[in-house]
Symmetry: C2
Subunit: 781 residues, 2 copies
């Protein structure tokens, strides 16, 4: 097998389709007799629902149906599949599943109350105004600290409190560690994440074919197989009667994996009920409340260190805002809890979180998925410790890195996949060294920064490390099939939201089968084309599906060589698979094309012998024993305008180890996008709720995303420590770019503005110019 394409910056197969407008997105799906759907959403965050009168709406011309919770009944009760209590002794977990249409109570602004089905979306939206809702408003639970006080109204009446979950995980003995410490530092940190703002909002088209008893659903979901299975159960159908197609999707980033959104649950039911196809495309305003967020956590964290800067222990108690329902489970706070440990030897760790119900939209993972919060806490603690102990910020990190001979490194606590958090492999120090070198760390501090300061310019440097758990199970599969024209078809169960699957998977196949990546067609996210799989999340696509693709193409390779050896009556060892054909080494002109082998593998006469099967194809599954851990270091030099407090990134460096790299160009794109979202998170994006739970900036005019002008050119570099947990040695890279950005920027801004000497500590994200102004004015005041 050659490695001609694996590792090469092959141009993307999918770009021709995307750039010429031939890629199918949900809103491109047009079906005859299709109806359109609009949702009446709650305008208040917390209220008892007295009555909904839809009679006027039902009479509006063009309206076909209006449904409220009573109409739905309980068909959706089999409910979400992901909510499982974590296997952590002593944990509390109070699952409260979102309902597809509110009954009895509304719990956040945007919660669907009723659904109008009409001949057009315009008519449907107009009819929303005809619905009369009678509510008894309740005090909104917005602040997660207040939510836990006895004066707070419970979001879920039957719970009696707003505790959604309580989890305590321990490694070592923090009390003992603290007792031995030279210093103990304790701070309160607030980390707010935001919304993913994909270029394409969510959408669902459902089409019930009564004659065929078949449901087809086009869905922007990241997990078509789970959606298929869940909806089959809800609708009383077999899984084979439900086909979920996640076509090209304009960005996923996590929120598109929620199971199940009210719209996903409702539209198929409506289509069955009305026997017509129905479509709903989320508009941007809806997206701000109807698609899940990540949001805030408040950490009370302390670190215990020896005099030389070695970490003896960390203790952290944090609150996690889970929103009105915890449909998705505990992935986000468990990730925060686990990722706080970073690349460091932390002998004692005592971490407790309380997930809190609020009257705000539901929180589920968004790129990074809670990891940012944990990284921010540990990295800021190390910055504080460095200053306190008089150690260089980079040096204190270096001293605490897990040494390369300590892998696999078991962090003992339970990870998001409910398995113990074990780092599979890593070599952290070279990553840090490369990053410091690339950013010019020493030179900056010794030569450049003093000069800037002389000039009155506020320029600072930041550096932060992280470890990211990636590539978790359970499994993915792939079917690789050579066609008679020599092209190779690959189908896999994961969906695609821009990750470059059509290229990176093609590269894996191309090397195995001696074809060009452009001769490999990839099909993703269509449950009829590949039946099994989990989905695209947790930076797992390349790790899990990539290895399944590799194993399937290796099996096809073996079949091809065997077929050719039979045809030529020679030994397989004498054969060369390249350029789409199998040749006999040393005999020019003696070859057989792959496509011809595919035809021979499907005989017209004779028999398929026992133990063989027709076709030059193979289906293989890959399930990693546990997740792989990528790691990296980001470093930045930033300049702050001391008057406006506007920020300019002078240099941004990412050094990253995600194991073996399939396509460095695609990987760079992933990192670029991640950093861009990280910058948005660090500076621009804050979901501003008032005390009534109203989102005050629910438009892209108010909720500012970083533009191309705000995202700096980045210098990227890589080291490669292959994962021992999968044959290709891959570790995931999808979320990495977004994770440490807040920590880097807080540190660099502090440095630029010399805030530490002014007794100002940046212990929160996001930091906008106005927030920086507040924080620094605080000092002046």
């Amino acid at each position: 097998m050659s490695t001609r394409f694996f590792g090469a910056p092959v141009k993307r197969n999918e770009d021709r389709k995307l750039l010429t407008g031939q890629a199918l997105f949900i809103d491109d799906v047009e079906l005859p007799d299709m109806l359109h759907v609009a949702f009446l959403r709650s305008q208040v965050a917390h209220a008892r629902l007295k009555q909904i009168d839809v009679s006027r709406a039902r009479q509006r011309p063009g309206v076909v149906a209006v449904y409220v919770a009573e109409d739905y009944g309980d068909y959706w009760q089999p409910g979400p599949l992901l909510v499982q209590p974590p296997p952590i002794p002593g944990s509390t977990f109070n699952p409260r599943t979102q309902v597809p249409l509110a009954r009895d109570k509304v719990r956040y602004v945007g919660e669907p109350l009723a659904v109008v089905v009409a001949e057009s979306r315009y008519l449907a939206e107009d009819a929303l105004d005809d619905i009369d809702v009678e509510l008894e408003t309740l005090p909104a639970v917005v602040d997660i600290e207040q939510a836990l006080t006895s004066s707070s109204v419970p979001v879920h009446d039957d719970l009696g409190s707003n505790v959604a979950a309580h989890v305590h995980q321990v490694k070592g003995d923090y009390r003992k560690a603290a007792a031995n410490a030279q210093i103990i530092l304790k701070r309160r940190f607030r980390y707010e994440h935001g919304i993913s703002s994909p270029i394409e909002t969510r959408g669902v088209v459902a089409h019930w074919n009564a004659r065929g008893q078949q449901m087809t659903i086009w869905d922007t979901t990241q997990a078509p197989v789970f959606i298929r299975n869940g909806l089959a159960a809800m609708l009383g159908l077999g899984e084979r009667q439900v086909r979920v197609i996640a076509p090209f999707v304009g960005g996923g980033f996590g929120p598109k994996i929620m199971m199940f959104y009210p719209e996903e649950v409702g539209l198929p039911w409506i289509s069955m009920r009305l026997n017509r196809p129905v479509k709903w495309i989320e508009d941007r305003l809806e997206h701000f409340v109807a698609t899940t967020h990540e949001r805030g956590q408040i950490h009370d964290a302390e670190i215990a260190l020896a005099a030389d800067g070695r970490i003896l222990g960390v203790k952290d108690v944090f609150l996690h805002d889970t929103g009105a329902y915890n449909t998705y489970g505990l992935t986000v706070p468990i990730n925060s809890q686990c990722t706080l440990l970073g690349p460091y030897v932390i002998p004692a760790y005592d971490s407790t979180f309380t997930a809190v119900f609020t009257n705000l939209p539901i929180v589920t993972p968004y790129r990074g998925a809670g990891r940012q919060h944990g990284v921010f806490v540990i990295e800021r603690l190390l910055d504080l410790a460095a200053r306190e102990l008089g150690i260089d910020r980079a040096e204190i990190r270096r001293r605490n890195l897990i040494p390369p001979d300590a892998f696999p490194y078991n962090n003992q606590i339970i990870f998001q996949d409910f398995a113990p958090l074990s780092y599979d492999s890593g070599n952290y120090e070279p990553v840090l060294a490369k990053a410091l070198d690339a950013i010019g760390y020493q030179r900056f501090l010794k030569e450049e920064q003093p000069k800037f300061r002389e000039e009155g310019r506020c320029v600072g440097i930041g550096v932060a490390c992280y470890v990211e758990g990636t590539g978790i199970g359970p499994y993915e599969g792939a079917k690789v099939q050579v066609q008679a024209n020599g092209k190779v078809n690959v189908a896999t169960g994961i969906g695609t939201q821009g990750q470059g699957h059509f290229t990176s998977f093609a590269q894996i196949v191309a090397d195995q089968l001696g074809v060009d990546p452009s001769d490999v067609d990839i099909v993703t996210g269509d449950t009829d084309q590949f039946y099994w799989g989990a989905g695209t999340f947790a930076s797992r696509g390349a790790v899990v599906a990539g290895n399944a693709v590799s194993e399937a193409s290796a099996a096809v390779r073996r079949k091809a060589l065997k077929l050719a050896a039979d045809a030529f009556e020679c030994a397989e060892e004498d054969l060369v698979l390249a350029d789409g054909k199998v040749s006999i080494a040393g005999i020019p002109g003696k070859f057989i094309r792959l496509g011809e082998l595919a035809q021979r593998a499907n005989p017209m006469r004779g028999a398929v012998r026992p133990g063989t099967e027709p076709g030059l194809e193979s289906t293989q599954y890959f399930g990693p024993p546990s997740g792989a851990t990528a790691n990296g270091v980001h470093a930045a030099i930033v300049e702050i305008d001391p008057l406006t407090l506007e920020l300019k990134v002078l240099k941004y460096v990412v050094v990253h180890d995600c194991g073996t790299v399939i396509n460095p160009m695609i990987l760079e794109g992933q990192i670029h996008g991640g950093v861009a979202q990280g910058i948005g998170n660090a500076f621009f994006e804050k979901l501003a709720f008032d005390d009534q739970g109203q989102l005050l900036n629910a438009s892209l005019a108010d909720y500012l995303l970083p533009t191309a002008l705000d995202v700096p050119r980045m210098e990227l570099d890589h080291t490669v420590t292959p994962s021992p947990l999968n044959p290709l040695g891959i570790k995931g890279a999808g979320e990495a770019g977004a994770i440490p950005v807040g920590a880097v920027f807080a540190q660099a801004i502090e440095d630029a503005l010399q805030l530490t000497s002014r007794k100002v500590e940046l212990l929160e994200i996001p930091l906008s110019p106005s927030r920086l102004f507040e924080l620094t004015r605080q000092e002046d005041a």
Copy 2:
């Protein structure tokens, strides 16, 4: 495993859909923007094509396009897949493939010349009148004997003669056999078959999705996988880009397996060209010329016998009308050649056929597929011999039967699957005995017939034997999958045309998995649901696909027991699979449902371990080493009105051995339908061509099909000699009913009218009252 359902007359799963009008047939496919197609067909049988002017037609409002052969170009040239020369030394085979639109020459009445695409079928048909065709008429080649004379014009100019094929097969030494014979009888036999007249004519809908680069074709074909593969090659697509769906089809009977019909080739190309879906549904008039026929053979056959009636040898030279093209190959005449040997020990056989091109529609298999012709010849020869040697007609058959200890019985010559004709198993004498017993053979001849004759009634008896090669390879496959709701889904590659696959396959699964057959959903004939397979022909569905279904469900059974054993931590031997659940024997209430096992087989967390795969499912293929041979005896008592020569069947008996029987009710239906078509063939149906190749009776008013009033109640009985060539022991039964009917009726009519004493021999089929009148008047003249 229980055998609760295998062998039981389970009611058909598919009937609810069929009877309530929910089954999808091609004409039910309605797509937005669909165009409709009509074909301009040649009105003359043989002509040079000078010019086709479609300019007026193109201008007709509503006409979207008109194409002639030049527009098509050569895209279809990869051509049919089935045409292979038989591996018989010394054979001549001149393949001439049908063209999708005639170029240079037209070769039969009905051959497509041009195609009109319009907004409706009405508009398209109207526009046919606007097309001006300039032809130079040639003498039509209609008579197969004349076709071979030097005065005949060649149908294919480049061939120089009308020999489509010439095949000589030999077993033993006929010359020596003849030299030792007591008697040698020689006659000329003519056997005409007809058209299958399915309740649903053919149809094609093609839909090119340019954005997805996907072609979907709904086709009445019996072989969706072959159509998929062939069209992919023609259209320059990968097989994965082409989905062929053969939905419910209203009767197949062989002609729906032709590859490729001009309409099948043309419509997908038109859809790609116009980027719109297109539909064509064959009308009944078109069906008479556009769908393939079976037709006539002329046999000059002689039989050499010993004095005791033992056959020493048979020599046969026959002409086979293959029509204007021999696209399908040599299946029909090879079947005639092979099936002539019947259940008899025939030590010497010398058989030669010449397939002849004529200016008539193409000949391909129609239920029986040439077997009728061979059976008619040998059975009539035995009748003649019996009379000549003074041996009872049944007795001469009995004496020649292959004894039960002679199996496998190798007949040495090459069969339609290009493998040697070997009878796998059989026990022929009990079949004959049962049939004679059931018809009351001895009583009829000794007691009843004399009484009838006294009464002046012309009542006669006939009895005929046959062996049918069935269940040939190459293979079929099946995927069996338990769903979370406990229902079982089965997908297989063959299509369905009324055979009861949805029930008989379900019975096989039901026994293996301990569920009810109504809990098993079968999907057939959709290449996206099951990718590989051959098709529904040669009485092979139950044999080949049935065994694949059985093996796949057995594999699922093993998986279920293993999963349950793991769950219960017990031995698999202690488990009972019944009523949709796995229980522990002797522990009431301790069980796990199949559906729950299916869910457990797709873990949400953890890993799919190496060597395992998600899902409670299995895909298995079955390819028999060679075809299985069914056999049977038909016997009939018929009365002829001596004045009108109308026929009434007083009793009809079928005793049949098709190995193990899955569903006797479905099997009876197959036999009933086959006998009905056999009666049509024997009495009603004759394609009447004039010497210009014009079909004179191309309507159901003129071409008479037997009605319910013409088809008698039948008495059916079975013996079971399992086939050793497949685990289930099945032999095919789809064509059996139709095969010996002509032979039975000729014999019975001769007997009824005492023709032998009048020196009239019935050596041809069909025999209508008017033909009988001619034959008996001949005698009078």
